[in-house]
Symmetry: C2
Subunit: 342 residues, 2 copies
Amino acid sequence: MVRMQDVAERAGVSIATVSFVVNGTKRVSAATRERVESAMAELGFTRNVLARALASRRSRLIALLFPGLDTRGNATAMEFVHGASTGAAERDHHLVLWPVENDPDALRAYLDGGLVDGVLAMEVQLEDPRVPTLLAAGTPFVLIGRTAEPSAHGYVDIDFETTVRDCLDRLAAAGHRRIALAVERQGALGESAYGPAVRVERAYRDWMAERDEPPIAMACERHPAAGLELADRLLAEHPDATAVLVNNQEAAPGLLRGIRRSGRTVPDDVSVLGLGMTARTAELCEPPLEHAAPPGQELGRLAAHALIDLLEGRDAEPVHRLLPCVLAPGESVAPARPPVAG
Amino acid sequence: MVRMQDVAERAGVSIATVSFVVNGTKRVSAATRERVESAMAELGFTRNVLARALASRRSRLIALLFPGLDTRGNATAMEFVHGASTGAAERDHHLVLWPVENDPDALRAYLDGGLVDGVLAMEVQLEDPRVPTLLAAGTPFVLIGRTAEPSAHGYVDIDFETTVRDCLDRLAAAGHRRIALAVERQGALGESAYGPAVRVERAYRDWMAERDEPPIAMACERHPAAGLELADRLLAEHPDATAVLVNNQEAAPGLLRGIRRSGRTVPDDVSVLGLGMTARTAELCEPPLEHAAPPGQELGRLAAHALIDLLEGRDAEPVHRLLPCVLAPGESVAPARPPVAG
DNA sequence: CTGAAAGCGCTTACAG
DNA sequence: CTGAAAGCGCTTACAG
């Protein structure tokens, strides 16, 4: 390996000078810079990341905490990971993955190693046990998602309010009024409530209230069988519903199946719109689901950038950034049928 | 932060001694060890990972190369990532993610930083351009997947031969003889051929040849529309096929849709068995697909362990480990109908 | 504008 | 069994 020492000798300067030109951290005369740069090129010098980290007390490593449980098959989680690692790379950082569940002790142990400068957390709960741990450790962090009291720290998140409104407006434009909501059941992810479900339901209730429509809010676990069962309940208890907004990727196919098995068709009898669902999952559904896709990769990137800004002391205020999901076409939404006299 | 120096002073020993008890790298008398250990506990000492890395010339960091393109929504890719990070953690290592495509220069730049001790690569092609780069850099590596000439380096991979045989035997046991194969089209992933498709097709042809059945091997791109088009071709050109083994997760839903649109039903008219498909994807299909699920997480874990064994000089021979996919039930396979006189 | 030197927090021959 | 000391490859006040 080529060291700064080698470059310095070849260029006939001190190693401090080499460091200054490599980092651009101090004025160096053009002639000297030239000599150093060609020495580096000739020797193929790349500075040792570890030594730099130790000396500068900045490892330029950030960690992404990801709980394995519900993340495993999650396409959006994959996008966070990809976006975060890309974002880190764009800013000369590396992303390390810490497979820690909501276990404060495990997290603390990782933090104590002093490997990373900051932390990114995803699958954030409204009362997230990782936050106090991070705070106590004094580790800078940015959340992908929000706690119940989000203003205190940096986050990037989906703009659920806008997204829900966009989705409901879309369904209303197709003539639907009796629109049901299906979210994941609270507590499905752990002891504490999960923000997205709460925020989506709240936005839904607000929108319905504005139109004097009684809400039809339902919840189920994150798997197809639960969606099937939810379809039965929905059709039995709310036969007047002509559309469903479903914020539960895993249950969506079961929901579609349940509607079909009842003899009704999607979208002719019931329209279905997916929320927070990737294009890939939507395409797997039968029929392919019209959906609002989360900007997962972009959120991952932004989170990494926000964290690095924080580490570099660039931002006085913690970043609060919301991005709406993007509506994408499918074959699951049709104009509402006029109500049949019953 | 508490340093070894602090522990040494409190225990009344040298910092070398502290290092020895922390690492268990040299004999220390019981009494001394005791003193050091309680000093560590009292001070809450955790050794600095970076300093250790620099001094020992072992960062205990390994990188996972992942090409973003086809990996993004890929559930198995997510399992590799999760398994690899878990496996690294089990062996006191950290996993860093390098978002590099098949770009030798980019990879070399990462490698030159000297951050990691070794590398894991996934989405391996038969002629993978990353392999010569890794070899030239002298970086130890383990592949998740195999090149055309795999014996030279360590790898873990799916046992396609066994898996294909298991799947075909399963279909044969249900009475199917005219079994078609649908794989992803070669070159879909880049310039070089993709191992899984090649290996699956070869195993399929062997199995069919053993039974004197002419093979029906088809290929299509990785998306639902391509699967739909493949269904049309299949039904038109091979109306005698009663079952399809599909090794293309992305195209599978389109295939199912195409069969259905032709007026045939799955599984009554045509049985479909998914290969290399996660339970999650299989459940999204209509009907839920019987499938052989890749042991993605386990492969990720094993790859990390194999790499770390290599780094620790534990293995003389490079690891060659194959794991078959696991058959899981669905509703897409039924007994073959007796052929109709035509 | 440039350099000599201390220091980041560890590991590891080498002596004793 | 234990310690003094050099060294890992950088960064960064401090002097000049």
